[in-house]
Symmetry: D2
Subunit: 307 residues, 4 copies
């Protein structure tokens, strides 16, 4: 597990169902750009807004579209172990290569119980498990010592750190330095350069839906030790990432503003057909859609005449 | 909607499945004690730990056991509207009288989107909706103005305030004073007296599984304006409520410590057969089980020789 | 220590110095209204905005104006013990009856060190010490067990709980039930009724600058056990308290909005000459000043033609 | 303003007064090691624990000891502008070169008022002002746009970012890219490498009291673009920095554990005579003092026989 692994956006039809054709196009766009894996049913997929049936559609579509070219990671986010295990089984049936497992949420578990949670899920999973650390959604932080124990026991083969705190990722890298093959992955779009500088195996940036080539270039430059190139690429991507907050000043929530912006950008780049998000997310207002277009031009992703 | 409405605990078998016999006994114990309703699949039920199949078992068992003697409220907690709507339909089929609906969680929604969430669920529900405000689990607070708008439009007929902040409940009472029949319900075990003093319609205390008679007495005294009796009863119940933190110093999480203590108390009172909680919750250690027993004696609920 | 003890506002001249004449008038207004003490140099005094010289002026003026009619409490808020001890000495010289001492702030102390802090200050103080629990400003919460230890050892004779959480005040009352004469005081304007219902000795409400008669009536009704009167009075005062947030939507900070509103109300009631607050606090805009006037009319404090 | 600028520790005598001799030795140790400035009366100095008289002693001693070899930065932390201005005047008299100014604390100010605070202090200061952003102590965050406005207007010539969030430092660098000479300084010991990688002018690490040579080497390597050396040096320093938490598991607060460890290390390195911290900080227990010694050996700072 390494490199750039975008968490797939979920394109929708006008009826707010999964747009299978656009999803296939998105997978091809990313794989053709050189990404090293794709992550279906992450937060960027609007997973918590999808029904179980839609989740299965997304996953089977993604696996089929990838067609073995890169590994497929399947999100299984669920409040606790019993439900996560059901989703792991779906991921196995669908042909995923890895499962990504969050700690308990809505439930209020202690650290010992979070550890049991991962051990229970691992026992029932035929696929290798990646831990998903995203405290802004789950309300808990997976500590480096906890992940270290799970890593050394083979319970998890990697972790995605979406805490937004580079110190957390660095502690994880230090803690797992002696675990062969363990993958410390960065979940933050704007810290990818620093994560690679700090020894992370790769990154899972939602923005890589919009600009996979940029993140792949950034990763290649880091592998080559060309830190000036890494920094320049990150600077451009960080500016582009500002699109995710544009909707906030119009009353949109965090999800609606971010996922709406990614989809509007993908639509303008011609990758997907429509920019809808799942209700009750508020759609991006027209003025924000145009700001997204302008940001794409500034980032060099769309010709000024074509946005 | 008013009075004391306990959120049902979910008794388990040794295989960690729903213990239907004990659940029926619990319902009878509560209804015989004079409670004014029962709430199935609230947090106290360990709902986030149950599978969908177990949830249906709990709900149908509760409805059958209640047998029309008091209204049944059904929890439908789900990350967003699409999933909540599926659970509302289950509640309708099972014969519940009300559905209790949380705001989005894991998802990150803005206030406008939370409002849309409730309107979407209400549109699809044949049962009246109670809003469930529990920021410690969902990460969001339902503001009084938001609940006021939903109440005035008939979207919700009540709200359970589990924020633990009496100012929040008071703001809700003030905001909905002009909405006939709206029920502001207190979710905190230790603020029930102050909530009734402040004009709440009733309370939904998890501890009422253990001592329904105490909460019913407290409510009756409040209705009668006998505030000295209210205070004395609350003081006794507040002391008893300390059982929920005993497990914390042994490494148990918030849920495991609380729900384990409720179940141990119910077992010692002879209401349910076993005190298991759903994994990955850590079981109460023996020393804590004995402390729960001693607290029951101190609260006058079990004779010293019988605990 | 009991009853209603308003934390004195600090009236200012046009040069932003202490308006000694207005301060004397304020003290007379409060004492004539029947308050049971006055607290100089609390947060409401804009203490952190005053120079050391101004603090001394405030304190000596207040002591002289009170002239022994009620006890005077002196704030000594300082980052740690060495500085607090200097302020305690000033309070002694000025003739105060009690000192009110915050825990360390800006400094980051552990609970053991907070306890040492109070013991160090107590050792050097000839005046009895009241602990000041105001986590929104200090970043720490004084736990009930900590205050209980200090109370039982005679280090503190009371505590002002400005946490805004009635559960905290109740825990303090329970913890100190066996300490004769210990005074658990409520710092929140809107929870005074519930605090007295719960066994608090009294309250220290900033709003009592504006409406001392209301708080004194509320206290008397509570002493008489007339809870309907208590509730009605609190409801009126809670509505009036909304004046403290009016400035927030105009960009004012918490202090500027609250203390500006108190002063504008006092000016309109004819108690003080001007409504200035200490820079860098932004003055209340004219529209807010008029809203404060309207709130006074609604609260029955100013005739509609006289506001 | 650039390079490594340690915030001076304050050595104490057995009477807990300023140990002027040790303080001079510390200044010489740092300047000889090649630091680019020294910062007196920062948090690391235990400033909030010192009396005003002690503060003046520290500052005049530091200025005299530095004797013009590098610039001296003087902390002026105070709850609001009036008090900060008094401290700025003391810093001018003492011969400091820059003043470091925190936002209001204990006071609750809005962003507009924080901006006014800095403008008021700047107006009265003959020395250039550095903003001090340390939300863990002040409870507020200085936003990049706010600091950008102050920088462009010449109100501040730099900022020390002690938020511990590299994204914050990066936003500051981006916001002030067009302000000639503005110095974005990193306050975190463990993010110095990433800060320099990200375009910061330098760092103000408390740990540089203990290992100034290490931080100077790190800075030189960054200037030379030798990122492998930067990373290796940071890794060693980050491990050494673990000494600041050793005391926490013995009940010490954040300050006591950190400043006690710095002083114990300086004492073992022979730079200062004693390791006392100002009461009510709890002294480091003997076992922790030995752990500090072992960490120095591991970091290569003290021979195993000499610790």
């Amino acid at each position: 597990v390494s490199g750039i692994i975008p968490p797939l956006s979920t394109p929708l039809t006008d009826d707010h169902d999964v747009d299978v054709v656009s999803l296939r196009q998105l997978v091809d766009f990313l794989v053709d750009a050189g990404v090293h894996g794709v992550f279906a049913l992450g937060s960027t997929s609007e997973d918590p807004y999808l029904t179980d049936a839609q989740r299965v559609t997304v996953l089977t579509t993604a696996v089929a579209a990838v067609d073995g070219r890169v590994p497929v990671f399947a999100g299984t986010m669920a409040t606790t172990a019993a439900r996560a295990i059901e989703r792991v089984a779906q991921a196995e049936s669908a042909g995923a290569d890895y499962v990504v497992v969050s700690p308990p949420f809505y439930a209020l578990a202690g650290e010992e119980e979070i550890e049991s949670h991962y051990r229970l899920v691992h026992e029932k999973s035929r696929l290798p498990v990646i831990a998903y650390d995203i405290p802004s959604r789950t309300g808990v932080k997976l500590s480096a010592p906890l992940l270290g124990r799970l890593a050394r026991d083979g319970v998890v083969v990697g972790a995605k750190d979406s805490s937004g705190d580079i110190k957390s990722l660095r502690a994880l890298v230090a803690e797992t330095a002696d675990v062969p093959g363990f993958a410390a992955m960065m979940g933050s779009e704007v810290l990818t350069d620093l994560a690679l500088f700090s020894g992370a195996a790769g990154a899972v940036p939602g923005l890589a839906n919009v600009d996979p080539h940029g993140y792949v270039r950034l990763h290649s430059a880091a592998v080559a030790g060309d830190w000036d190139a890494v920094r320049a690429e990150q600077r451009r991507l960080t500016r582009l990432f500002d699109i995710i907050v544009l909707g906030r000043s119009h009353g949109l929530g965090v999800d609606a503003a971010a996922y709406g912006a990614f989809k509007e950008a993908l639509r303008r780049r011609g990758v997907i057909a429509r920019a809808h998000t799942v209700p009750p997310q508020t759609p991006l207002p027209a003025v924000v859609r145009d700001q997204v277009g302008a940001a794409l031009v500034e980032a060099g992703l769309v010709g000024a005449g074509l946005q």
